[in-house]
Amino acid sequence: MSEKMADKDERSVRQHSANEMHPEEGPPDDLTQEQLLGMYRRMRLIRGFEDRAKEHFEAGEITGFLHLSQGQEAVPVGVCTALRKDDYITSTHRGHHDVIAKGCDVKYMFAELYGRANGYCKGKGGSMHIADFSQGIIGATGIVSGSLPTAPGIALSIKMRGTDQVAVCFFGDGATAEGGFHEALNLSALWQVPIIFVCQNNLYGLSHPWDKTAFKCELARRVSTYNVAAECTDGMDAVAVYRAAEKAVERARAGGGPSFIEAKTYRFLGHYVGDPALYMPKEEREMWRERDATLKLGRQLRAWGYMSEDEDDQMAADVAKELEEAIAFAKSSPKPPPEDALTDVYGHFDYLGNPLDEGGR
């Protein structure tokens, strides 16, 4: 077991918003056992995926950059539990947890990280650009705030087409300093489109701390001045995130316009694999480790009687097996032929500008 098991002591659990559950309370009545177990498994899958990815990256098998999300899995899992398959999400360079939460299969995720032909992007996107349009995953982007201007357009498209889909835009605290963040909020409010902005505030934009990014800022308060319904929630509590998301989704589907959720969370590792993260103080890291959302949900599930210890262990084993098989699948998958580097630039032309046959890509 390579999962780092934190201390089971719950003294350090901090309450951050009214949405959080106390363990003494019974199970939530707005989520079924099946849903909760699904959320828990998905969070473990994400955590396991990130740990495995790190391991294989450090072994030299995965190339490029890897921006991992251990510690943040509750946020997308909570949000995506409130979404349908045909809803859209956009993600970021640190997006594995977002896309797995939305429904990506770890087999094709690993295949993509290993640059294989049957990866989600045929090996052409990589970690920072994973997309699965069939599940509404419009894609991660390597540019901080890159999808912020795009997402309102997705929501506008929904509104113009007259469906009740919603668009969720995941981003971090660092992106809120970019101009596109503000333009996106403004246009979304102007157009009253069904979008949910979810800021995963992990307190760092690379090495730059949040309190030096924005002056004495409470994001929800700042955003509310754009006349976008804004809320702050505990990103280390999947149920709390779910509840905030559910409200926003209902608002959106009902034509009530955009919402904003700030989810306070933390990444346990540095910005990228290889970053020693000297800028993250040890005490701070330890404090947030104690608030590990996945472990917490596990504890809660056992406390609510939704899951036994054996079932917990069994689930751990299942997840581990799924991940092992996914890696084996990726490693045995064919690499795309080198000429694939030249395809998929245009729909109607090849990369040199010669017309392609109709239907050719």
Partner: protein, 334 residues
């Protein structure tokens, strides 16, 4: 333009408006976004005037001054089933949404392994001649030609403008559609009938035998005037308008050079790193054995556009510059 029954003389502006209107009628997914595009203002150069009363302000969606925001929204809408045509009032402002153009629109199809398409048209205009100074007079087509994933069109006549814009809207790839501020009032024959112009086909606007001039946008008109001047002197100039800078039909240009053995490439944007260099590199490779004299560029000097009218006139490529260079080339002085 063969077998055309009804031709009307209309302006470049009207031709563009007709294209937008026809495509919006044809496909309800087509909608417009941009600054000041709704009536009564009808956009900075009046191209969209009259469209919002017909199609409503949802489909002719006027935006605040948020280039990054509304170009990005165009990308998002294009990714999810719509066919937006976004207007950037001046190409000089394209620096603001550049991430959405170059990193997102141009690359999402590729990065997603072909899962997505971005049928987005960004209409904009550039060019000198209105004393509009350095921030309102650029021609930045070279930047966009350089980015894999973008298509670039630069029409010089009303006929080309309408045909190319209709095609651009129907294509499933992002198009930078670059108009010219001094061309909006020019007039030319445009058929009544429905037509489109494919991308990747140059137009030989005048046939000749002594020298080939390839020119873009308004410089095409300068080249045609130069051809008239030179014809009086017995020099026969062939004028080629690429119309789409990418895809570029270089084969037709090479065929022309086979005939004339001399090439001049002219454009209004600054010489250094400009589009002429791309054309010349391709022709020097594919047409090597046909070239009898050093290939020439006639472009603006590599300076920002000055304000004073006479200073601006000094750097605008005009028919005299082109004629003079061709003359010296044909006489063997170069």
């Amino acid at each position: 333009m063969a077998d055309v029954k009804h031709l009307r003389e209309i302006s470049y502006r009207d031709a563009l408006r007709e294209a937008l209107r026809e495509e919006m009628l044809r496909d309800e997914r087509v909608f417009l976004m941009g600054e000041d595009i709704a009536d009564p203002f009808g956009s900075a150069y009046k191209v969209t005037l009259g469209l919002s009363p017909e199609f409503g302000t949802d489909r002719v969606r006027q935006t605040p001054i948020s280039e990054l925001g509304f170009v990005g929204a165009g990308v998002g809408a294009a990714l999810t089933g719509m066919r937006p045509v976004v207007e950037l009032m001046y190409i000089d402002f394209s620096t603001l949404p550049m991430d959405q153009i170059a990193n997102q629109a141009a690359k999402i199809r590729y990065m997603s392994g072909g899962q997505a398409q971005v049928p987005l048209v960004i209409r904009t205009q550039g060019g000198m001649g209105r004393s509009s100074a350095a921030h309102h007079a650029q021609s930045l087509e070279a930047w966009f030609v350089h980015i894999p994933g973008l298509l670039v069109a630069m029409p010089s006549t009303p006929y080309d403008a309408k045909g190319l814009l209709k095609t651009a809207i129907r294509l499933n790839d992002p198009v930078m559609f670059i108009e010219h501020k001094l061309l909006y009032n020019t007039e030319g024959p445009v058929p009544d009938e429905e037509y489109t112009i494919p991308f990747g086909v140059v137009d030989v606007k005048r046939e000749g035998t002594d020298c080939t001039v390839v020119a873009t946008s308004r410089t095409v008109l300068m080249a045609l005037q130069a051809a008239e001047m030179l014809a009086q002197e017995g020099i026969s100039l062939e004028v080629i308008d690429p119309r789409t800078l990418f895809p570029l039909d270089v084969e037709t240009i090479v065929d022309s050079v086979k005939k004339t053995s001399r090439l001049v490439v002219a454009h209004e944007s600054p010489e250094r790193g400009g589009f002429a260099a791309e054309v010349i590199a391709q022709v020097a490779d594919k047409g090597f054995d046909y070239i009898d004299a050093p290939i020439q560029r006639v472009c603006a000097p590599s300076v920002p556009t000055p304000f004073a009218r006479h200073l601006e006139d000094f750097i605008i490529v005009n028919e005299t510059h082109i004629a003079d260079r061709v003359r010296r080339l044909v006489r063997g002085e170069i």
